[in-house]
Symmetry: C2
Subunit: 498 residues, 2 copies
């Protein structure tokens, strides 16, 4: 056995020991370190050398045989198969590589727009390693029906569904998923549509993007909430400079008729305003729809979190009150399932959805078939309903714990939501820079989200922040808030209020 | 048991009998046809009623218990659980629904562009039901390493990988997949890049779309091959009217310096021209790169099918010869794995990829985590290499059979490719309308693709068509070609050449 193969396994690696063994041999064969006919160490030798069980080695060898990398020869044991694949790695042309670093293309001149800056909500990818992760929109693995999801995933990859999940759908979607969303999810929001009025998208964000491409150009005036979801502002600002904002109070977006009279499109989150969590009152919903008719503007309703309500009876979607077709509706499965799923949907008039379908085709063809079918099974088998119930039960408890913890901190002023959801929008003292608070809190294991990025202004208020409870255990909440509060007191002493 | 529940199972349905039973009860509970405490029929009664085994019923009941829809009560058997989820289906507001059909929005005025027409390659979704499917770009399930893919999919959904596959990646991708593409796939094309120069996209088409958005506006002149992939033309024509085309001969795109001197971007498929299957000669590649430097235009290289070569040693990608950064490279996993996977990648200079990453974020955030991780395992465990070998072996046989079948038909003129690939581009007699041929052939179970949509002209030649062998068994090929030839002879007699 060549010396290059003498290596050790990493017991802490994300990959199992058996897989690591397979990878070692696959790499060695592809790189021709091991050539066809070369003998592999016996499973006993290798298991001694690597300090793993013989069974682990045997399973790895069996898998290598199955994929024809190696074969068992009588009296020789395992050898690299004569027909083993070999990598066709070209010799690395280092000269070329180095020269290429001197890219002579002037990219600033080539790009049709100057480099964009996204104002993203700050969220470390390794948030799970923090003790008090008050992060928003991530999945709590302890609440997710993981084994049911795996069952559905396996089912969706079965031979029976093979042609559905692996093929190119063209302009279509998985009919099973479409059927369940139209017949189950949407009616629960009071929305009755035919399947041609619904398009599956790669998450709700993809739906927002499609609408912006189809309906907004530099002539159009778009009204956004302030504060609002930063990505919707980034999507819209790539299409037009004519952006106006309207503030949000406890009844949702404030309807300033003078501003709205200039609108072509109004983007809102009426069920659960992002980030303030307020719910738009029924009275205001009717007023907004009346104005939409009067001035013939369109309303883009992002109903991103409707299934996370657990306090009051949910108010039906704005779309369900829309008798004239002015409302375009966006739904998401990211909050109720998980964000990495990337499934959402767009609902609207036939003419709009038909164009959105063609544009989606050019952008990405369609969301992966396997993803669509897995979600369809999860819905069809009732796992989704059970999942929502479990989520709501836990979220209700967490919310209660968090609320009472917050109420003991006079420095925090919370905007009460009647809706539920997964977060609180907190107003700190005027002198607070929540970006500094977030930074110091992270050092103590507490993750919160500074609120400045949600505001439209280049000079936003800095004393707001978001605390979510969708990914943190109830027991952790009080201590997390205590630490936050202690930090805030320290900051108050260091830089006392003016 | 309520009468509404008296129903039968569909043995031919795509869903298993056990699942159908679960669905019946889930629907009934959600719709409150069955109320908490209601007794379910005993497994014996139900198995008799539905003519299925008791075991099937028991498994269905067990699953319903697991998801808390039902519970087992001593002496009562199964009852609907007190905490069973109920659908909150609003009563359908039929008035609203009907009124909504009278959509008063004038969508033609609202849409910023007139309705688009996509010139798609015609391909019935149910192509598997045809006996002779010479369709392009679809997966032959008999050649796909299905069980290995399932293993990788399950592995990627394991608890170990949970946070990777379900979370929001932000601007990132799965590092495992990025690592394998950069260290394994790209070097095989002679391309050495750092991971920041590569972006995972939702299929190759998504990569083309991103580049078009970033680099093309109405001032830019874009050169396309003619014929070419119709979707690339549709993507570009949404950005600019300044599109020029260059013909393709047996050495690939013809380099007309007068035309190229006006270019901002040149879109090409040098490894395997789509649809003619010719490979660009090395001489011409060098000439094209020299022209790109001379006139400072960019080259968008779509290397969509490079892994399907099996005849000659593959020529390295154009990108591998690029010393100045003028080439932007697009790769795909659709042909080697399956199109419903929707995974591809974009390779280019740091400045470009950095902007593409931000734009991708706004469009769709990122390709689903589970899809990325499954593909990463498939690559890492060597299944991908084994899969490619198997594909190439079978494709080589099929190609030989198809070629000899075609050679016996004097009415077909094939454009010989030195490369392999998965299709032939056929020139029929001048009088042929291949759309009619395709239509008549489909009636006889033979699917071919009319070639008109690949041409830029509004008045394209009609006598070309594409015959792919990636989804048809070798044994079927001769009979399929015979039928096609017989049809062509009939057409020749009916409308003899002028």
């Amino acid at each position: 056995m060549p010396e290059t193969l003498i290596c050790s396994l990493d017991p802490d690696a994300k990959t199992s020991l058996q897989m690591q063994i397979r990878q070692i041999f696959v790499e060695a064969i592809l790189k021709r370190v091991l050539q066809p006919g070369d003998k592999l160490p016996s499973s006993r030798t290798l298991s001694d050398q690597l300090s793993v069980s013989r069974n682990t080695v045997n399973l790895a060898y069996q898998a290598l045989m199955d994929s024809e990398y190696i074969e068992a020869k009588p009296r020789s044991g395992y050898v690299v198969s004569a027909s083993a694949p070999v990598g066709r790695l070209e010799t690395a042309d280092l000269d070329t590589l180095e020269k290429r670093q001197d890219d002579i293309v002037d990219w600033q001149a080539k790009l049709i727009a100057p480099p964009q800056s996204l104002r993203q909500v700050q969220k470390p990818l390794n948030w799970r390693e923090y003790e008090f992760p008050f992060v928003y929109g991530q999945t709590d693995s302890t609440l997710f029906a993981h084994s049911q999801w795996r069952d559905c995933s396996r089912q969706a990859l079965g031979l029976r569904d093979f042609s559905n999940t692996v093929g190119d759908f063209g302009l279509s979607d998985d009919p099973m998923l479409v059927n369940y969303i139209c017949s189950r999810s949407l009616p629960r929001r009071g929305i009755q549509v035919q399947s041609e009025q619904m398009l599956v998208t790669l998450g709700a964000q993809n739906a927002l993007y499609l609408v912006a491409q189809l309906l907004i150009n530099s002539d159009k005036t778009v009204i956004l909430e302030d504060p609002a979801y930063p990505d919707v502002r980034d999507i819209v600002s790539r299409r037009t400079d004519k952006i106006e904002t309207l503030p949000v109070d406890e009844e949702g977006m404030v309807l300033d008729e003078a501003v709205l009279s200039r609108a072509d499109i109004v983007c809102i989150t009426p069920s659960h305003q992002c980030p303030t969590t307020t719910t738009m009152s029924l009275r205001r919903r009717h007023d907004l729809l009346a104005l939409a008719q009067k001035y013939d503007f369109l309303i883009l309703e992002d109903d991103y979190e409707f299934e996370m309500n657990f306090i009051e009876k949910p108010s039906p979607a704005l779309k369900s009150l829309d008798k004239t077709g002015h409302v375009i509706y966006v739904g998401s499965l990211s909050k109720s399932l998980f964000p990495g799923l990337r499934l959402g949907y767009l609902v609207g008039s036939h003419s709009l959805i038909s164009e959105a379908r063609k544009l989606r085709h050019l952008i990405l063809r369609h969301p992966p078939g396997h993803t669509q079918r897995t979600a369809a099974y999860f819905l069809a088998l009732g796992h989704y309903e059970a999942q929502l119930r479990r989520l709501r039960r836990h979220l209700a408890t967490r919310r209660e714990v968090l609320q009472s913890a917050l109420e003991q901190q006079p420095l925090f002023e919370q905007i009460a939501s009647h809706f539920g959801g997964t977060s609180f929008w907190i107003k700190g003292p005027d002198w607070l820079d929540s970006r500094i608070l977030a930074e110091r809190a992270a050092e103590q294991g507490v993750l919160i989200e500074a609120g400045d990025v949600f505001f439209a202004s280049d000079n936003p208020p800095l004393n707001y922040f978001r605390i979510a409870y969708s990914s943190i255990d109830s027991e952790k909440i009080p201590e997390g808030i205590n630490r936050l509060s202690a930090l805030l007191h320290d900051m108050a002493e260091a830089s006392p209020p003016a």
